[in-house]
């Protein structure tokens, strides 16, 4: 949305956005300051797109769905991992610092190399699960059970927030372990033994040290920390547990 809302009239005061900039071949990174008009409904993504359109067309950033469902617009805003499309700019103060996610190599500006996120997942992940919502509903004839997309939107915020990932690039990270735990909770034809073997690794479930930042950062209620703990419980007892993570 353009910060100059035609319904309200002219735009409100402007804020200073300090935006991380890096192009391949540059000697290093820098922060570029931009004065951006911000209204009560302006999101960080709106502001960054305003910069692209009106100040600097070379600013590169990822976005797609505008409603925190695709997971592409993850970045650090004032040091916190967020999805820019649902983060309001107004409450963030007079200077807003925008950087790419941590612990993942930067491709350019606010874009990180997502292949490093996806390579950590076990091979068997699927994105469709049973829908646990509206349990009293009966599906129509021909449909066994209602299904829905998994909560994990592969945004990488958890990987950026994890203090262990800050010191170890070999750690598979919270999203991958949470996805593995989901496969234990709902196998969908996958062999649970394979998943347990995959997770039972010093750089797998055992590398986590219970900081819980991943759950704090997750914008999609995956609760990766709790799932990692449940996964460790399964590994410790040699049994696959029932879903041990209570909904928030």
């Amino acid at each position: 949305m353009s910060p100059a809302d035609p319904v309200l009239g002219s735009s409100s005061a402007s804020r200073t956005f300090r935006v991380y900039r890096y192009k391949r071949g540059d000697p290093g990174w820098r922060f570029d300051p931009f004065e951006v008009p911000v209204g009560p409904r302006t999101t960080v993504l709106d502001a960054l797109r305003w910069i692209q359109l009106h100040r600097d067309g070379t600013l590169a950033l990822r976005h797609s769905c505008f409603h925190a469902s695709c997971g592409t617009c993850g970045m650090q805003v004032n040091g916190r991992e967020v999805l820019a499309c649902v983060t309001l700019a107004d409450p963030l103060g007079s200077t807003i610092t925008v950087e790419p996610l941590a612990n993942i190599p930067v491709l350019t500006d606010l874009v990180v190399d997502m292949s490093r996120v996806f390579e950590r997942f076990p091979d068997e992940i699927g994105i469709v699960r049973m829908s646990e919502e509206l349990p009293e509903a009966s599906p129509p004839v021909g449909i066994d059970a209602f299904e829905r997309f998994e909560d994990c939107i592969e945004c990488g915020l958890c990987l950026s927030a994890c203090p262990v990932s800050a010191t170890s690039d070999a750690y598979v990270g919270p999203a991958a372990l949470a996805a593995a735990q989901r496969l234990l909770e709902e196998p969908r034809g996958v062999d649970p033994g394979r998943i347990l073997d995959w997770a039972d690794d010093p750089m797998g479930a055992w590398r986590c040290h219970a900081a819980f930042e991943c759950t704090e950062a997750c914008p999609s209620n995956v609760r990766p920390a709790e799932r990692i703990m449940a996964l460790r419980g399964a590994l410790s007892t040699g049994r696959r547990p029932a879903a041990a993570v209570t909904p928030r």
Binding site: L107, E226, M229, R232
Partner: protein
Amino acid sequence: MSGRDLPDLERRDDDGPVLRKGVGIPTSGWFDPRGRALGSFAFAVNRVTGLGLVAYLYLHLAVLSMLLRGESAWSGFLRLATDWVFLSLDVLLIFGILYHGLNGIRVALVGSGIVPDRQKALWWALGVIGTIALAFSAFHIYGSR
């Protein structure tokens, strides 16, 4: 129109910089408070108290070695040991033991999947127990003067 072929395409495959929390030293990210929540705080204090306890162990052995040097050396130490600064350090030590131990119980309960999703509640509950125990200890330590 540029009139020349697009250069530098191979640069797209190079490695890029990696942002890390903290101040450039790898583990400093553990102590960067920006945007952090309770779990990180517990994680960080656990590491500090762990190092502190290791340091204390060394000091403790060094102190005990004074016993080998005879009564006057030990008596000198005892005078120091009843000084209120020293007693305060004892209280700090008790804090370190209680924190590291009780948080360790929390991490064990959560990390083994016994209570995977109650980490904040456990922190506060064990924190209450630890605070009471610390107050009790401090009362007796200072009261021993």
